[in-house]
Symmetry: C2
Subunit: 353 residues, 2 copies
């Protein structure tokens, strides 16, 4: 299997090294052959190629079986013009690969749950899968421009019916293999696009009679994630709502640094990245938390390569590491041992097999 | 002063009666003359006028000094076509009156703070003023329609520069009379409208050198409201982001039923309504919490009539009521006394003066 590594900016390089080490150990253990090829993206690609998404990065990703991404962005490039911003690389690669389904599991780890901003009785037993449409909506709609001599501005929320259908299908299919409950989030009381979304959900319900469906308005969903996080199973929504709600959900468990994500298309090719950012303030210090990246590699094994056993093995090894009390500087465990990126990766490796 | 009452649907009528009683008591105490005129809006206006916003409601509101709104909506009208939905009345009256600034104070009440989903050390000392643009953006932009024979759909996020300027000014002015910190929320890494928004904030900073400004992306803001609610002072943002974030913020203190809101234009005319909805499930039972409505009336005295002392008097009376242990069914107070809408209104009246 050909895997493209896009470390990106900030702590991206350090955590990517960890994920690669874990994948090599898994390959040795289970007799798989993974090849890795590193390419530039984001701010570092702006520095080296004057382009946040160089053409050879796109080509390499297009012919790969899966892509691992570290993180992009940092203050260094914050005042760049729009086309020379690190995020352009991220948005560009999603679009170029057609990765329309962003999948984010939100589930706490018992040794870390005490760090949640929520009361324990609220957050405990929460296990949410957020599915966000990733290549449409306000992010890519045209026109997106100044008007009337700079005295007005317009962005466009555009969706094709087929784009809504495939992500809604993904929502139903995911609910079917989980707890069979789908929360569809829209703003149907205001937006025409949301009314079309809701119609499609209603149509699809017939095809998935085993899944119960609830329509929740995006503002109400933002409340309910906080007051009743354990009432969700799968949540499906469009791009911008998904951006906001998945980030909101990501802090509920109290350990953002642990969360992986997957961005998929229908044929199994996917890009995997941690939910956290590039953390420029701690880059190069050897203290970054590699778990979000390692768990993203596990999702790659599961979703792109169908290697369920290997994926679970990694997840178990990470869990064990926490149970043993090992954690990075961003986490706290009572009577735990705080260690750096390299050390904690070694412990994960020891816990494998 | 001419006040238009729009009770609307569900518990709207009950809580409006409470607010009116409190205003009459204040008028007697301070020798003011308030006249009240009731008009139809929302679902009940659909029932009586086949129109969620009858023309005479608009006219009455236009010539009034202020408007009090209960709540609109309910399952009865949920499957109506778009133009016969209760929300159309709400959106329509905002637009018709030009109420561009929605103001939502989010601050807990000590006797109720234990009900917050957040840990006490996280929520305590939080005092946020959310300012949301209310008459532009995706809510009103054209085109908003089906395309390509129903196989695509478009909504439009449109803002005039002047619309952004006036709400951003409101943000700075509000910060100036509070703790002098303004959080401006946008999605400038993706949206052209947000880039214009951010430019305007940067320009205005020169005019308000006493206010510190922080730009936060909407996804990051959704996180920070949960992890560090006490790091906010004034938050200003556009319509849809404001809808989502203000609802998110409204559950942080654990007592949604207490929160008031104001929707203003520059000349002081405003519409005041509680943050909660029409609660059709408990309508007519006499158990609704009238505090959000009563505190909205207090905001009316403050913002539209400049009656600061009278407004504070109401707020004090409500607070005292809670300190005395009185609460409605939606709230809990340890060793408190649960009472109905009428009774709790009487206690507020007793606490006045
Ligand atoms: C960096 C930004 C463009 C991106 C997005 O909004 O999609 C990020 O917030 C994310 O969620 O991956
Ligand atoms: C009812 C709905 C149209 C409205 C809005 O989205 O503005 C409501 O959620 C609000 O915040 O007042």
């Amino acid at each position: 299997k050909q895997i493209i590594l896009l470390p990106g900016d900030g702590i991206g390089k350090e955590i990517m090294d960890s994920a690669k080490a874990v994948l090599l150990a898994i390959a040795a253990e289970y007799n798989h052959h993974f090849t890795f090829e590193e390419h530039a993206i984001g701010g570092s690609a702006i520095d080296t190629h004057n382009n946040p998404l160089p053409e050879d990065t796109i080509q390499a990703c297009k012919s790969a079986d899966a892509v691992l991404l570290g993180a992009v962005g940092g203050p260094k490039w914050d005042s760049n013009p729009a086309h020379l911003r690190p995020e352009k690389g991220l948005l560009g690669i999603r679009k170029a690969l057609g990765l329309f389904a962003n999948i984010r599991p939100v589930k706490g780890f018992s040794p870390l749950l005490h760090a949640s901003p929520l009361k324990e009785e609220i957050i405990k037993d929460s296990d949410i899968l957020i599915i966000r449409e990733l290549t449409g909506g306000l992010y890519f709609g045209e026109p997106s421009e100044r008007r009337e001599n700079g005295n007005a501005v317009v962005d466009t929320l555009y969706y094709k019916r087929a784009e809504m259908e495939r992500i809604i299908d993904k929502g139903f299919q995911s609910a079917r293999i989980r707890n069979k409950h789908l929360t569809s989030v829209d703003k149907a009381n205001v937006l025409e696009s949301s009314r079309m979304w809701r119609e499609i959900v209603e149509e699809k319900m017939q095809e998935y009679p085993d899944v119960t469906v609830e329509h929740v308005l995006v503002d109400a969903a933002a409340m309910k994630l906080i007051t009743q996080p354990n009432r969700f199973d799968v949540l499906v929504t469009e791009n911008l709502f998904g951006d906001i709600l998945s980030d909101e959900a990501s802090v509920l468990t109290g350990s953002l640094g642990m969360l992986p994500s997957a961005s998929l298309r229908t044929d199994g090719v996917g890009m995997y990245e941690p939910v956290h950012g590039s953390a420029p303030d701690i880059a190069g210090k050897g203290i970054a938390n590699p778990f979000g990246m390692i768990l993203s590699a596990a999702l790659m094994l599961r979703f792109s390569f169908g290697l369920e056993e290997e994926a679970s093995e990694i997840e178990r090894a990470v869990n064990e590491c926490l149970e043993q009390g090992y954690h990075t500087a961003d986490l706290q465990i009572q009577n735990g041992k705080q260690v750096g990126t390299k050390k904690i990766t070694e412990i994960v490796l020891e816990n494998l097999t």
